[in-house]
């Protein structure tokens, strides 16, 4: 049972470069989420998706782009990386409906923008 996997685990990039973080889940969960976690801020939602081809902004979407052409994949792209996007990024998934709302998280991607 692979669950939800994120890649890469660690990434170092330079300001202005485009970076894509990958997220793949094997449960066919309809909902997927991207959060970033920073000291002093906790987990903040970047984007989420209710189903393939349906995405919506979260609390901190600026500078990020998402797509969801297939239910199992939800890549996050930083179009032109900035130092303020240095963070740990977590992907999560869930099923809809009462009793199913709990999120299952990946192991995270630690991104450093130099």
């Amino acid at each position: 049972d692979a669950g939800i996997t994120q890649s890469p685990r660690y990434k170092i990039t330079e300001t202005g470069r485009q970076v894509t973080l990958m997220c793949h889940q094997t449960w066919s969960h309809s909902y997927m989420f991207w959060y970033r976690q920073d000291l002093g801020h906790g987990l903040r939602l970047i984007y989420y998706s209710a189903a393939a081809d349906i995405t919506d902004k979260g609390e901190v979407p600026d500078g990020y782009v998402v797509s969801r052409s297939k239910t199992e994949n939800f890549p996050l792209t930083l179009e032109s990386a900035t130092r303020s996007q240095t963070s740990v990024y977590f992907c999560a998934s869930s099923k809809p409906g009462r009793g199913n709302e709990k999120l299952f998280f990946g192991s995270g991607t630690q991104l450093s923008v130099l």
Binding site: G40, G42, L43, L45, Y48, G58, G99, K102, L103, F105
Partner: protein, 111 residues
Amino acid sequence: EDQVTQSPEALRLQEGESSSLNCSYTVSGLRGLFWYRQDPGKGPEFLFTLYSAGEEKEKERLKATLTKKESFLHITAPKPEDSATYLCAVQDPGGSEKLVFGKGTKLTVNP
């Protein structure tokens, strides 16, 4: 204004010393409140969901309770392996499935 506030930010306990973590929330019409555990370098791991005031859930040394304004995570006779950051979250009152998280309480249990 934060919708979810956790206290304390950090807590140090001796093994066997019971205590409680607090999560207060300001959303009206709570749809669900969630507790997660996060170990260093890992993603959060689900612990409990609470839906209505008066509800309680238990798992080993952990017990979560819910009132109309806050939730408590009670830790009874903790062990060093209970050391982690505990996160509280509420379901979006607007109807979506997204969760709004508090900043967490870092618990350290010394042997």
